[in-house]
C-alpha cells in the first residue's frame, strides 16, 4: 500500500497529541491521584499525607460488627455474573434470530433494542420502579388477574429488581457484539456444514457457536464490567442492605462517610480486579477468534 500522510512521522505526533493529553489529564492523573490517596490517612477535614496500608487492611478484615467489607465485593462479582449470564441468555437467541430468521424487519428490531441507549440511565431505572413498585404495573396486573388480592412488595427494592434493571440496561451492550459476530459468519460455512451431513442443531453447535464466541466474550465482558461498577441501579432499585454493591460503598466513602483514602483503596482493588478480567477475556477473545475479519482486529 502507498504510504499516506498519516504514516509519516511528522504527521503522526500532532494527530496523537490531543488524545494523549486528554488521556493524561483525565484518566492517568485521576488514577494516580486515587492511587496516592489510597495510601494516606483520613483526617477530620482533609487527608493526612502519611503512608499507611491501613485502608487496604480495613477492606479485608472484619469490622466490630463482624462483617468483612470485601465480602460486598464478592457479592458484587456474583451479582454481576448473574446479570452477565442473563444478558447473554437474552441477547444470543435474539441476535441469532435477527441474523438468520428475520428478513424484513431486521433493522427495525435491532434498533428497538439499541434505542433505549439514548434514553437516560435514570429514566430507565425509574421506569422499573413504575413497573415493579407496590402500586406498579406488575402488581396491578396480578391483582386484576386474581393472582393476589393485595399488592406485593417483594418485587421492588430487592436483589431481584436490581438484577432486572441491570439486565435491561446492559442487554444492548451484549447484543451488539454478538450480533456482529453472527453477522460475520460466512453463510457458505453453514451450507458446508449441512452438506457434510450436519443437522440444524449440529451446525449450530459446531459452527455457529464457536464462531460467535469472541462476540459473546466481548459482550459478556461489557455486561460484567459495567454492572460491577454500577451504583445507580442498587441505589434506585435495591433494598436497604442486601443488594448494596461495591460501588455504593465507594460512593459512601467519598460522600457521607467522608473517608477518601478508604474509598480510594477500594477503588484501586476494583480497578485491579477489572483490569485482570479484561486481560483474561481479551486473551480468550483472541484465542477463539477464527474468522479473518475478527483476527484482523488484533
Amino acid at each position: 500500500m502507498k504510504k499516506t500522510a498519516v504514516h509519516k512521522k511528522g504527521m503522526l505526533l500532532p494527530l496523537l497529541l490531543p488524545p494523549a493529553i486528554w488521556l493524561f489529564l483525565f484518566l492517568f492523573l485521576p488514577y494516580l491521584n486515587l492511587f496516592s490517596y489510597s495510601f494516606w490517612k483520613p483526617g477530620p477535614f482533609d487527608v493526612v499525607k502519611e503512608f499507611t496500608l491501613h485502608n487496604y487492611a480495613k477492606f479485608f478484615t472484619a469490622t466490630s460488627s463482624g462483617s468483612v467489607p470485601y465480602h460486598v465485593l464478592i457479592d458484587t462479582v456474583e451479582l454481576a455474573l448473574v446479570v452477565t449470564v442473563f444478558t447473554v441468555i437474552l441477547s444470543f437467541p435474539l441476535a441469532y434470530y435477527l441474523n438468520f430468521k428475520v428478513t424484513r424487519f431486521k433493522q427495525t428490531i435491532y434498533m428497538l433494542v439499541i434505542i433505549p441507549l439514548w434514553v437516560s440511565y435514570i429514566v430507565r431505572a425509574y421506569s422499573w420502579k413504575i413497573i415493579l413498585g407496590t402500586n406498579g404495573i406488575l402488581n396491578s396486573a396480578f391483582i386484576w388477574l386474581g393472582v393476589t388480592d393485595h399488592p406485593l412488595d417483594i418485587f421492588l427494592y430487592s436483589k431481584v429488581s436490581v438484577i432486572i434493571g441491570m439486565v435491561h440496561i446492559y442487554t444492548p451492550f451484549v447484543l451488539m457484539p454478538i450480533y456482529t459476530a453472527l453477522e460475520q459468519i460466512p453463510r457458505n460455512l453453514l451450507e458446508a456444514s449441512k452438506d457434510l451431513g450436519a443437522g440444524r442443531f449440529q451446525s449450530f453447535l459446531h459452527v455457529v457457536v464457536p464462531l460467535a464466541l469472541p462476540g459473546v466474550i466481548a459482550g459478556a465482558t461489557f455486561a460484567f464490567v459495567l454492572s460491577m461498577g454500577d451504583f445507580l441501579a442498587p441505589s434506585l432499585l435495591g433494598g436497604p442492605d442486601s443488594s448494596t454493591m461495591i460501588a455504593n460503598i465507594v460512593q459512601q466513602q467519598f460522600g457521607t462517610s467522608n473517608n477518601w483514602p478508604y474509598g480510594s483503596a477500594i477503588g484501586i482493588v476494583i480497578l485491579v480486579l477489572v483490569l485482570a478480567i479484561l486481560e483474561l477475556t481479551g486473551r480468550a477473545e483472541k484465542r477463539f477468534s477464527a474468522l479473518d475479519t475478527v483476527a484482523m482486529r488484533k
Partner: protein, 357 residues
C-alpha cells in the same frame, strides 16, 4: 458407463419473474466427469445447488441413484460439495475440517482417524494436518476442501468453480490433479465452470448451458469439432462465424452462399434450401494463399494483422464487408504473408459446421 447416477427431468427454476433454469433434462452416468459449462448467470450453479439441496426446483424432478430427492434436505443427500471459496471451517484444523462429515455421521473415532489420514494422503496434505485454514495458501485450502468432501465417499461430488480463485499456473496443475483423483476414486464428478478450457481438459462430457437452457451435451472433442448451435460454436474456443444462405441440398452435401461465393459442406441435417445459416470454421481449419486456389471457391480479404503468438501465427484477414476472419497457422509457415497483402481464404469443409441461425 451406463448406470445413471443423477437424473434431471424437466427441471425449472424461477426466482420471482426470472426463469433461471429452463426445462433441463440431464443424465449423469456413474463414474463420469461431467462439466456444466456456461457464462456466469446461465443457471449452472443454481442447477448444482438444486442437486445439493440448497435450492428447490420450481418444477421437475431430481433423481439421485434412482431416488427422488425432492423431500431430502442437503444433510440427508449422499452428495458432497466443494464450494467456490472452499468454505473451510476457520476454527478447525485441517484434520478436524476433513473429519467433520464423518463426525456428524457418528463414525467411530478410529475409523475417522484412518479415513482422514487416507484423504490427507490422497491430496498430499499430510504435513498440514494440524494447521488452521487461514495459515494456508489458496491451493492448499482447495486441496483440503476436496479432501473434506471425498472422505465421505459420496455418490456424487459437486464442484462449484473450485479453481476460480487460484492463479493460472496452479489452476492448470489442480485441473490434472482433480482429474486423476476422479479417475482413481471412480466417484461421479459434477463440475461447474465458466472456463471452457478447464471444461475441455477435465471432462468426460461437457454440458453447455446458455440462458438456463441446455445447448449441447457431448464429449469435449465433439463439442469442439461439431457444435450443434451457434452459441456453442462461439463460446467454445475461437471460431469464425460466416452468415450464409443454403442454395442447394443433396444427399451428401449442402451448398451455402457466403459473401457471394458458393461453398459445399457435408450435409447438415434439417437444412433446407433458402434457410439462413451460420457456418462455423475454427481458425486452425482456415488457410490462406496468395494465389486463387484451383477449383475452389475462396474469399478475398486483406491481412490487417499478423502476429506471432508462440507456437502459432495468428492472422486477421478483413473481408471487403468488414468481417474479420481469424486464421491460425503453424509458426513454421513464416515468411509467406505480409501485413496489407491481399489473400484468398479457404477452409477444410470437413472441419466446418453449418448451424441454423
Amino acid at each position: 458407463m451406463s448406470e445413471i447416477t443423477i437424473q434431471l427431468e424437466g427441471v425449472n427454476k424461477f426466482y420471482g419473474e426470472n426463469h433461471i433454469v429452463k426445462d433441463l433434462h440431464l443424465d449423469v452416468f456413474k463414474g463420469e466427469f461431467l462439466t456444466l459449462l456456461g457464462p456466469s448467470g446461465c443457471g449452472k450453479t443454481t442447477t448444482l445447488r438444486m442437486i445439493a439441496g440448497f435450492e428447490q426446483p420450481s418444477s421437475g424432478k431430481i433423481l439421485l441413484a434412482g431416488e427422488d430427492v425432492a423431500a431430502l434436505p442437503p444433510n440427508k443427500r449422499d452428495v458432497n460439495t466443494v464450494f467456490q471459496n472452499y468454505a473451510l471451517f476457520p476454527h478447525m484444523t485441517v484434520r478436524e475440517n476433513i473429519g467433520y462429515g464423518l463426525r456428524m455421521k457418528k463414525t467411530p473415532r478410529d475409523e475417522i482417524a484412518r479415513r482422514v489420514q487416507d484423504a490427507l494422503r490422497m491430496v498430499q496434505m499430510e504435513a498440514y494436518a494440524d494447521r488452521k485454514p487461514r495459515q494456508m495458501s489458496g491451493g492448499q485450502q482447495q486441496r483440503v476442501a476436496v479432501a473434506r468432501a471425498i472422505v465421505n465417499n459420496p455418490t456424487v461430488l459437486l464442484l462449484d468453480e473450485p479453481l476460480g480463485a487460484l492463479d493460472l499456473k496452479l489452476r492448470k496443475q489442480m485441473q490434472f490433479e482433480l482429474k486423476h483423483l476422479q479417475q482413481k476414486l471412480g466417484i461421479t464428478f459434477l463440475y461447474v465452470t465458466h472456463d471452457q478450457e478447464e471444461a475441455l481438459t477435465m471432462s468426460d462430457r461437457v454440458a453447455v448451458i446458455h440462458n438456463g437452457r441446455l445447448e449441447q451435451i457431448d464429449t469435449p472433442a465433439a463439442i469442439y469439432n461439431r457444435p450443434k448451435t451457434r452459441f456453442v460454436a462461439d463460446f467454445i474456443g475461437e471460431t469464425n462465424l460466416f452468415k450464409g444462405k443454403v442454395v442447394g441440398t443433396s444427399a451428401h452435401e449442402v451448398s451455402v452462399a457466403i459473401e457471394g461465393a458458393i461453398f459445399r459442406f457435408a450435409h447438415a441435417e434439417g437444412q433446407h434450401s433458402g434457410a439462413e445459416v451460420y457456418v462455423s470454421v475454427r481458425p486452425e481449419a482456415m488457410s490462406m494463399t496468395r494465389e486463387r486456389p484451383e477449383g475452389e471457391a475462396g474469399l478475398v480479404g486483406r491481412v490487417t494483422e499478423h502476429v506471432f503468438v508462440g507456437s502459432v501465427y495468428k492472422t486477421i484477414v478483413t473481408l471487403p464487408t468488414g468481417l474479420e476472419v481469424v486464421v491460425v497457422q503453424p509458426a513454421a509457415s513464416d515468411g509467406l504473408i505480409q501485413q496489407g497483402e491481399e489473400v484468398y481464404l479457404t477452409w477444410d469443409s470437413a472441419r466446418s459446421v453449418v448451424l441454423a441461425s
